[in-house]
């Protein structure tokens, strides 16, 4: 896809503003950047709230403080997942994203795991490294001093150690693992059940090395806040990501469509939903420790819709809105705009049905169970909706491109990832 959308930007640039543009493409891109700014700012604010909740958990571990931290984590996911539509077309976001939302992870890198899962024949020699239990580590043949677990150790040494992507030491899912622990219920009911006593200092500590676990959790949360701070600044007035999409509105619109299509099809429908279903594997669930996957999928879909409609509802309930891609498409081809909106609605209805079922007791990992026809139907409805809307996104690309391919590549775009 990268190859092709690169070609469409130029054609749009040549014609936009000429014959038919009542809606200014630059204003559409400005709305997009405004939504990004607001959604990343909300992600930052909720991550700071998570940081406070984590500090409270560490200061006085209890069922209540652990529950509060979990609630804060789930709240932090709501705005963040809606930003995922800003990936796949914006190199500034793509290069950064792995720090915050990498998945799936070999969690044995970080902490204790079920003994039955050690010694798996995966590709990762560090899958059972257990940093929390081991102040001295061997990584890539070298000894690593992990006496102090700091943000720098996590960021510079542990994350993606030995170049292996599943060595995820930071981000939402590392924190999720530290708050919930492994979900050992397979495709049965129940999420991870880490006890608060895993954070009790001194006597009463369970799981061993509670002080190091607390240090890891605090450091990982601190990193998440710093990472989100960086991205929020990138989209604020004068930020690099905002500048990158605004410099050439056609390139900005290309980025919007690339993100919508790549997230819809290859990422969400493919990697996150269909693959897990075909594997019947609960570890192939996006939020596998917390069983929050239904909401992550829902807000991913919502983020795609936000970009098209030029609307985003902030965590305080206020609405960010402005000239939208939908307006641009409606002017070029009203029927196509209606089709696109209907497809987005179909997808959101399917994702809502998954949420309703999960909140009603059929958790996402239970839907993945071998032979669970109801779960399969729910997930495949989402997958099919996402694939189907991708076809309409392609039509939007064509409609805004006026069918012309002028040259290969657009310098203004820079390298589009994947």
């Amino acid at each position: 896809m990268n190859r092709l959308l690169a070609t469409s930007a130029l054609a749009l640039a040549l014609t936009a503003g000429a014959a038919r543009a009542e809606t200014d493409p630059a204003a559409v891109v400005a709305t997009y950047a405004d939504i990004a700014e607001a959604a990343y700012a909300d992600s930052l604010a909720t991550a700071r709230a998570l940081e406070d909740a984590v500090a409270a958990l560490i200061a006085s571990p209890s069922d209540e403080t652990l529950a509060a931290a979990r609630t804060a984590w789930k709240a932090a996911r709501v705005p963040y997942q809606q930003t995922e539509a800003f990936r796949f077309g914006n190199p500034i976001v793509d290069d950064w994203e792995g720090k915050v939302n990498a998945w799936p992870l070999d969690e044995g890198l970080i902490d204790y795991v079920d003994p039955g899962q050690e010694g798996l024949m995966g590709e990762n020699p560090l899958a059972a490294l257990n940093v929390i239990a081991n102040p001295t580590l061997a990584i890539a043949g070298a000894e690593v001093d992990a006496t102090e677990i700091t943000p720098a150790l996590i960021a510079d040494t542990l994350n993606e150690a030995e170049g292996i992507e599943t060595n995820v030491a930071r981000g939402y899912h590392a924190i999720e693992f530290l708050l919930w622990g492994q979900d050992l219920n397979g495709t049965g009911p129940g999420a991870g059940a880490r006890p608060y006593t895993d954070y009790v200092a001194g006597e009463g500590c369970t799981g061993g090395n509670c002080d190091r676990r607390a240090a890891y959790l605090a450091a990982a949360t601190e990193l998440l806040v710093a990472d989100l701070d960086e991205m929020a600044a990138n989209w604020a007035e004068g930020g690099a990501a905002r500048a990158a999409v605004s410099a050439d509105p056609a390139a900005g619109i290309t980025a919007m469509l690339t993100g919508m299509g790549s997230l819809s099809y290859g990422e969400q429908a493919g990697e996150r939903m269909r693959l897990g279903l075909l594997l019947n594997d609960p570890e192939e669930e996006h939020d596998c420790f917390s069983d929050n996957t239904h909401w992550s999928h829902f807000y991913d879909g919502k983020g795609i819709e936000n970009v098209y409609l030029g609307q985003y509802t902030r965590i305080d309930g206020s609405l960010v809105e402005g000239p939208a891609l939908a307006d641009l498409v409606a002017e070029a081809d009203p029927a196509l705009d209606a089709e696109m909106q209907a497809k987005l609605t179909t997808t959101m209805t399917a994702l809502q049905a998954i949420v309703d079922a999960a909140e009603g007791g059929l958790a996402y990992d239970q839907m993945l169970e071998m032979g669970n026809a109801e779960g399969e139907a729910l997930i495949m409805a989402g997958v099919n909706g996402l694939i189907d809307q991708t076809r309409s996104i392609e039509r939007v690309v064509t409609a805004l491109n006026f069918g012309a391919i002028e040259v290969e590549g657009s310098d203004s775009l820079g390298p589009l990832q994947q």
Binding site: R3, L4, L120, E165, Y265, G270, D281, I393
Partner: protein
């Protein structure tokens, strides 16, 4: 009525003067490809019934894999989901050995019927599960009266059933969907151009997958080559698969346009030439600097095919590939 309509439409399109396009791609390339895969998988299943031991099954296994490679990178229509169950790769977290080990240790009776086995995780089915059983030293030492033998027989019959289902679905259903592009009752493809683009997307995305994954994954980085990430390295098919996919992509591209493709032909020849210089067909020598260099050259040649196809097919037909299933991270 719908079927009749579809056939009528197909005839109408076929009767057009052009010698290339969607009908030609379907009739001369896609449908024969699935028929060959179905036949080869059926042969493999028969062979497994007669003798389940690896040495006996490796030749028909490779024949089935060869047949798959001509159509395996088509990810649309019936193949959209089914291709993953035939060929689950890359297996980044070791799901396939885990699934097989789980079945064998429990002597799971799920292998006793075709229906129950069809529900098993895709990691425990298809060509890569068979490859593990037939080539991996942790699995291939089974005897004729073992559970593993019966598992291999079930894997082979399941593969044959999948292949037959794919063949049927393409021939009896999705071919018509492509051929009736633009018809009022076809919501999938609103114009012939959309059908053409869908096939063209497969050409480009298949080649990209070959460059990025089949070659790129084992290459890793200079400091950290990843031979264990090569596709089908256990059976030493990594290089065979690269070439087979490239040839298949070019063959499909040729059916899409009624023109000579000199640049594309030259690029494919150049890739074959680069491939002939590679010593280890399983890419296990990628840690060696000169072997790595040869693989890098092959990678560039595959990229060269993509460029040539874009120039001679995409640009000429006014096609840009659509989104593809590899677009995620």
């Amino acid at each position: 009525m719908r079927a009749i309509h579809a056939v009528a439409f197909a005839v109408a399109l076929l009767s057009q003067p052009a010698n290339a396009g969607v009908p030609e791609a379907i009739d001369a390339f896609i449908l024969p490809g699935f028929a060959r895969f179905s036949a080869a998988a059926t042969d493999l299943a028969r062979a497994a019934e007669a003798d389940c031991i690896p040495t006996a099954l490796r030749p028909p296994f490779n024949a089935a894999f060869d047949a798959w490679m001509t159509v395996g990178d088509l990810h649309l229509g019936p193949s959209e989901n089914a291709a993953h169950a035939v060929a689950f790769w890359p297996d980044t977290r070791g799901f396939t050995p885990r699934a097989l080990q789980g079945l064998i240790e429990a002597e799971n009776t799920v292998i006793d019927s075709a229906e129950s086995f069809a529900e098993v995780s895709i990691a425990g089915r298809g060509l890569f599960a068979l490859e593990m059983m037939l080539y991996d030293e942790g699995f291939d030492a089974y005897g004729p009266d073992s559970y593993a033998c019966r598992l291999v027989q079930r894997l082979a019959t399941d593969l044959a059933a999948q292949a037959t289902a794919l063949d049927t679905a393409w021939r009896d259903d999705f071919a018509a969907t492509l051929l009736t592009a633009g018809a009022a009752d076809n919501p999938t493809f609103l114009s012939e151009g959309e059908a053409l683009r869908a096939l063209y997307t497969q050409v480009v995305s298949g080649l990209e997958f070959t460059a990025d994954s089949r070659i790129g994954r084992p290459m890793g980085t200079f400091d950290q080559p990843r031979p264990e990430r090569a596709e089908a390295w256990r059976s030493g098919r990594s290089l065979v698969n690269v070439l087979a996919e490239a040839e298949a992509a070019v063959a499909l591209a040729r059916r899409l346009i009624d023109a000579e493709l000199p640049l594309t032909d030259a690029a494919l020849d150049s890739a074959k030439d680069a491939a002939s210089k590679i010593d280890d067909p399983g890419f296990q020598d990628v840690g060696d600097a000169s072997a790595r260099f040869k693989l890098e050259v092959l990678d560039q040649k595959i990229e060269g095919i993509i460029d040539a196809v874009e120039q001679e097919v995409g640009l000429v037909l006014g096609l840009q590939p659509g989104f593809n299933s590899q677009d995620g991270d």
